[in-house]
Symmetry: C2
Subunit: 424 residues, 2 copies
């Protein structure tokens, strides 16, 4: 690795750390002023942004991008307006910094206050969506954190233009430009260097495919909050309302199949499978969903002449992100819970039942970030939770689990006020 | 690395994961029954424990241990009773599992509950204190987590005997023995294997010296919560009450110099240094504290004929854990804040002042886990905070910062209750 590259990334992180001290005590008004200015600059700079985006689009073929990937990295005037609107929404959210989480007075008179504070410097490692650049920059800024952004090479020119606007908005609000910095190279060695700067950077959030996230987790000495895949289950209990089960299974699978909280796995209790499974299968087939079945569910669908195929073993732990669902029959509620704890990604798992006792056992026993009773897994989302925004959905168990909003981008500190107390 | 060792550690972690599912839904009564049984077994098994400890003590010379190290690993009847008393105290603490942290009902009728749940499986990597084995086992058990313990080779026989008692207490309470397991080898390769089992283990807590913690952080793909060193500052402002400043500086430095929240660094505002520093120095010298000074503070002490030596540059970021303090004069409050943010370990830092505005700037600007106004840094401690117990003091910013008690050994999950809601 070149010494220049190490120097470049280290200097950038040092500047971010210095900026983070200023941001941590910046007022809500100042931070919001920078956000509102950014929301103005974005549409006003559409020409520059689209020209930069055109360079990335021109290079898209040499990066062998698919049509869907090219669509994701494409900016147009409407998308720029949407991105700016998202910035205004974050400006309107309450500032999490300084919130008092706890306050106690000890018998010796010491007052102990636990206050929400920014984490410090956050590194965001992501792929090729330009909205991520702005989303992450503004969520970090609003929560008082300095951000270091490292996006994919496919979107480098667009990101550079966007980062310049963020820096301009920061400067115009009197905040340090270094509060949000884009790494000015997509060299992998720069990323590897960054991931070792644990004295300067306090948290890494990777956003993207599983291989990126795994690379980051394996190479980072900085704490990582992972936003892994969603292998989400809907379990239809023997006492499920059939019409509700049908609606929830279909909504969870087809309303937006390409996202992490869409259902990929269907379990049906053995006592109800004979009657319920054909109904669920018909509804899914009507929506063009392919059913990949275990032998028991296959036999039931076979009897009813319903299209299906035999599942491969890997299907039962797969995130299809497509109109495909794996189907199994569960001999019992306990078996369903054990299957989910073994095969799901612990992201979003649902039970459909009228039996409150069964629901309580499921909700307590399934060890996932979000568990649902009689609702679609698609609700596992920061906006649906009322957080106002989210930087992702954590599949980790430390710090933040499930949807991560502004509060989850904060740490806390203890402020202790005494009048000369000594320890005896 | 031998395939056998990998197999051994992997199997142990798989058993811990299976046990964690049972522990997560175990009742408070059952967990407390195991703790109370352990508190009974400890003194009742003193003979076995002391015999095991004698083996470790016999090997202490070949491990080249110092007198202080040998003292730390020595068990006697009194220490066993103290350890058992600590177990009873944890049994008496409230169970954090199941506490409702938030509850909202969304406009669509979805009820969103955020509940405290165990993290899952926690690995504790530590050195040679037998009380850590029991402390960590019981804190993990009470908080519903399965624990994997890996202590130092110097204490292996004692730990093996202690772990057998824990397993016995678990079994007698009807809980899985695998809920607390000691790795039955101190081979470094077993540790390296453990630190990569991120599908089975959810959190690693290293306790010990800096090199151990760094080794763990660099080799783990599992999230680590670090409990690093304390390079703690006391800053005496120009408006400090001189008598209070003297008491706090002396208490923070000498009350127990070998611990992480003891002061190692003294800063005195330039305007007060001429009068205050000689007084503080006399009080410290009376307690046999060595003063390592910057040129400005050295000149003041020189003038008053007070013993001191010139500090080496490394002294200003050192954790002495001894009767030594580094001394500097700060030209201003802002300079003091910047110095602390650069040179402290962000653990416990204090200001002594009568000036509320100066105190507020210090408390907001110093980016440390715990900041004090007119109180000794020695109060940064889970017991002093009223947590009832602590597994350590986190110097990380994610998940837990400062003293880590039972609640900080927990994660949370979202439980969502609907009546058929679909996402539109």
């Amino acid at each position: 690795m070149s010494a220049d590259l190490v120097q470049l990334v280290t200097t950038l992180a040092q500047r971010a750390r210095a900026a983070s001290h200023l941001l941590a005590t910046a007022s809500t008004e100042t931070k919001n002023a920078a956000l509102v200015r950014l929301a103005e600059l974005l549409p006003a700079s559409a020409g520059t942004l689209l020209a930069a985006n055109a360079k990335d689009l021109a290079a898209a073929k040499e990066h062998n991008l698919t049509g869907a990937q090219i669509d994701r990295l494409t900016l147009d005037a409407k998308r720029i307006v949407q991105i700016a609107e998202g910035v205004r929404q974050v400006a309107a959210l309450p500032d999490p910094v300084g919130e008092e989480l706890e306050r106690t007075v000890r018998p010796n008179g010491l007052e102990i206050r636990k206050l929400r504070v920014p984490i410090g410097v956050i590194g965001i490692i992501y792929e090729a969506r330009p909205n991520v650049t702005i989303d992450c920059a503004v969520l970090c800024l609003k929560s008082g954190n300095a951000a270091i952004l490292r996006g994919g090479k496919e979107i480098f020119h667009t990101n550079t233009a966007l980062a310049a606007l963020v820096a301009e908005a920061l400067a115009q609000a009197g905040l340090p430009r270094d509060a949000v910095q884009l790494i000015p190279t997509t060299d992998r060695a720069a990323l590897t260097t960054l991931l070792k700067l644990d004295e300067l950077i306090h948290c890494i959030i990777p956003r993207g495919g599983e291989s990126l996230i795994r690379f980051v987790a394996e190479n980072s000495t900085i704490p990582v909050i992972k936003h892994f895949k969603g292998v989400c289950f809907v379990y239809v209990d023997k006492d499920a309302d059939p019409a509700m089960a049908e609606r929830i299974v279909v909504n969870a699978k087809v309303q937006r199949p390409g996202v992490c909280n869409a259902a990929e796995q269907l379990l049906v209790h053995a006592d109800a499978a004979g009657t319920l499974l054909p109904r669920l299968a018909r509804a899914l087939l009507e929506k063009k969903v392919e059913l990949r079945c275990d032998p028991v569910s296959a036999a039931i669908l076979e009897k009813h002449g319903l299209a299906h195929r035999a599942a491969a073993p890997g299907d039962f732990t797969s995130e299809f992100l497509d109109l495909i669902i794996a189907v199994r029959v569960a001999p019992s509620l306990d078996d369903a819970i054990a299957t989910i704890n073994r095969d799901s990604s612990a992201h979003s798992d649902a039970i459909v039942t009228r039996d409150a006792a069964a629901a309580q056992r499921f909700l307590a026993g399934v060890d996932s970030a979000t568990v649902f009773w009689n609702a679609s897994t698609r609700f596992n989302d920061g906006f649906e939770f009322g957080l106002g925004a989210e930087i992702g959905i954590s599949t980790d168990r430390l710090h933040a689990r499930g949807p991560m909003g502004l509060r989850e981008l904060c740490s806390y500190k203890y402020v202790i006020i005494g009048n000369g107390q000594l320890r005896g």
